[in-house]
Symmetry: C2
Subunit: 401 residues, 2 copies
């Protein structure tokens, strides 16, 4: 494998340096100079077995992490389609089941969106993928195919997701069981009380599945206020009881920002105690999660796109930096250290949620990098410049020097 | 003046057509075919006195309107500067007075931001410009110079704005008086109770100034809840009493979304009754304004950038479509007609706030247009494509066919 020497890049906005990439990893400091050739600055050249790239003073960030996607649902690469659903959760779910068959193969749409992710520097994705008694495992098969076509460039972790309900749609639990055997990585869940109607039976079922298969869980929880908070407590109990600490994520978790402060503090402590991760999509209609409180307690926290231009919503562009920007904006962040903390959620935080090994900018880390224009990390978030160079497993996969 | 024939454009996403621009205005339908030459599609050519431009099927929108800007404050075109202020209003105001002298001439910074506006298709701007006893009228002079350099391309309406207070900084009212004589278009105000400390005296002063000079008023009102609502009532009274209906704008008006429904309804009716306009900047930390209720009551409603990368906040890019997108996102809009209503606020709504004549896409309207890629207005808002062509007073001022 050819070495890659990235000249004049600034890791996380620090001083300009050279980064040598060897065997797909960031090499120890100092090994760069040994590999340096005499080729002129500003050029990209292959000298012997070292390819040099002029980073042009761009920031070097670890690749963006989308910690909550729905790749199977996107209409990306398809003609724009007016929104056709009502506003209730049930209406959105039913509309999707009725219309999705007309959208074309999952593998094509998910693949097109993954290509956009790669272009923007999003190289790690956790995607919920629908499993239901009408579509069976077709969506999982499609997303797996799209991911396989891009293996080594973008990593896709799949949650077998009972979008249409688990208990209200008998047979779905068995399908999740089969999905895990077929390569899905985590067991999903959705509003055990508010949507599926029986929180104890729902949670007992998905926790048993996860424990049995030895995989993690990622549970959609939109239920707000005390109903949501009560379910968080039930999730915490089961996480401890089944030895699943560190393997459970709660997505959205609107309950955190819709209860009083005392209840919020107790919930944050309970999540930290069970090492349960939280993901947000920076929603517009709900108060922002208590990001600083969660971080201070050590709760792993990621941000995701949610859907991108799908039957649920026309929003989303495949550029996770827009979600990072939105997260900061909605939190009222103005100071640079705060805006950088939002960027950390879109990078290191997501990596912690997904449990990525060797993630980051240190020697030994996998060379999955986003080089992007910006004087500082904050300016990069504010500008969301398209002047980017994306490196996956030590090779340039998008952009130009 | 050379005629301009825009081939293959879709006004507000409608069927593709040609638009003839004559004497800086949209010519009546049918006059286009008479002016058509035989030049090949896809090319831009000057045949006789008709310049043809291939619109490439882009949407044609009337130019975007920034109904609430602070051009004098921007650091646009300057190196990125970390945020240095505290979070209180007083801290932000004091920090700005202390630091602004180091930013370089207002005319240069405001001009650079106006150039960005033009590039993005924002051709009408109402800018609040600071007036205070330290900087005197320097900022007004600077913004007027920047606007004069771009006359005929972008229109700038100036509000003489007492950012540092009116009563708490004696002498400011006289400066506003002088500013209007020197060419500022409207009298400004700021939180008569919450910041300036004497709502009756503040409002009486600025209303007397406006009535005396025969100009309009645009009042910043961040005060929330019942304190804000009480001041809205006082503004409504004075608008009627001084014969200023149709000439007053309330900026931000957080009170509208922080009182109970009955009070909100009464406020909307009172605003409509006095023909008081409202502008929003799609803020993150406050519930969105009741856009549909305001529109249904006939209240003129615009959206603005607020500051762009200034000592108040690092946000803002000069692309008003981002604010339109944010307005729709925060309102929870998903259906196309709702997202189009947000785009109307960023175009026709802002034009109504500013009282622009001959604004729109009809024959006779001034040819200030944004051509932008997108299958529908909603897709244009979602994509915020940079594939744009901007026409001001009948001439191409940004982008390429």
């Amino acid at each position: 494998m050819t070495d890659l020497l990235l000249r004049d890049v600034r890791p996380w906005g620090g001083p300009a340096t050279d980064l040598l990439i060897r065997d797909g990893r960031i090499a120890p400091a100092g090994s760069g100079s040994a590999a340096g050739s005499s080729s002129a600055a500003g050029s990209s050249s292959a000298a012997g077995d070292v390819q040099e790239i002029d980073g042009g003073g761009r920031l070097a960030l670890p690749a963006l992490v989308d910690a909550h996607a729905h790749l199977d649902k996107t209409t990306w690469s398809r003609p724009y389609r007016p929104h056709s659903a009502g506003s209730s959760l049930a209406s959105l779910v039913d509309n999707e089941r009725a219309v999705r068959g007309s959208l074309g193969p999952v593998a094509d749409r998910a693949g097109a969106l993954l290509d956009r992710y790669i272009e923007r520097g999003v190289l790690h994705v956790r995607s919920h993928v629908d499993v239901d008694t009408e579509a069976d495992l077709d969506s999982i098969v499609g997303v797996r195919a799209a991911a396989a076509d891009r293996a080594g460039i973008v990593d896709v972790e799949i949650v077998a997701f009972p979008q249409s309900g688990l208990l209200i749609r008998p047979g779905t639990a068995d399908l999740i069981d089969t999905a895990i055997d077929a390569g899905a990585h985590l067991v999903g869940g959705i509003d055990p009380a508010g949507f599926d109607g029986d929180p104890i039976k729902h949670l007992d079922t998905i926790f048993a599945l996860a424990a049995d298969k030895g995989v993690g869980l990622d549970i959609h929880l939109h239920d707000r206020g005390t109903l949501g908070a009560w379910q968080v407590d039930r999730i915490v109990e089961r996480t401890h009881n089944l030895g699943l600490t560190g393997k459970v994520t709660i997505a959205h978790c609107f309950a955190l920002s819709t209860v009083d402060d005392a209840r919020q503090n107790a919930m944050v402590d309970a999540l930290a105690g069970a090492d349960i991760a939280v993901t947000t999509v920076a929603p517009g209609g709900t108060p922002p999660l208590p990001l600083k409180k969660l971080a201070a307690a050590g709760v792993r926290l990621g941000v995701g796109h949610d859907g991108v231009r799908d039957l649920w919503s026309p929003y989303g562009t495949g550029d996770l930096l827009e979600k990072v920007w939105l997260l900061a904006y909605l939190a009222g962040y103005r100071r640079d250290e705060d805006i950088e903390s939002a960027l950390r959620i879109g990078t290191f935080g997501g990596a912690e949620v997904l449990g990525l090994k060797n993630y980051g900018l240190e020697p030994g880390c996998a060379a999955n990098l986003l080089l992007i224009a910006g004087a500082t990390p904050t300016e990069a978030v504010m500008d969301r410049s398209l002047d980017r160079l994306v490196i996956a497993s030590g090779e340039v996969v998008a952009g130009a020097a």
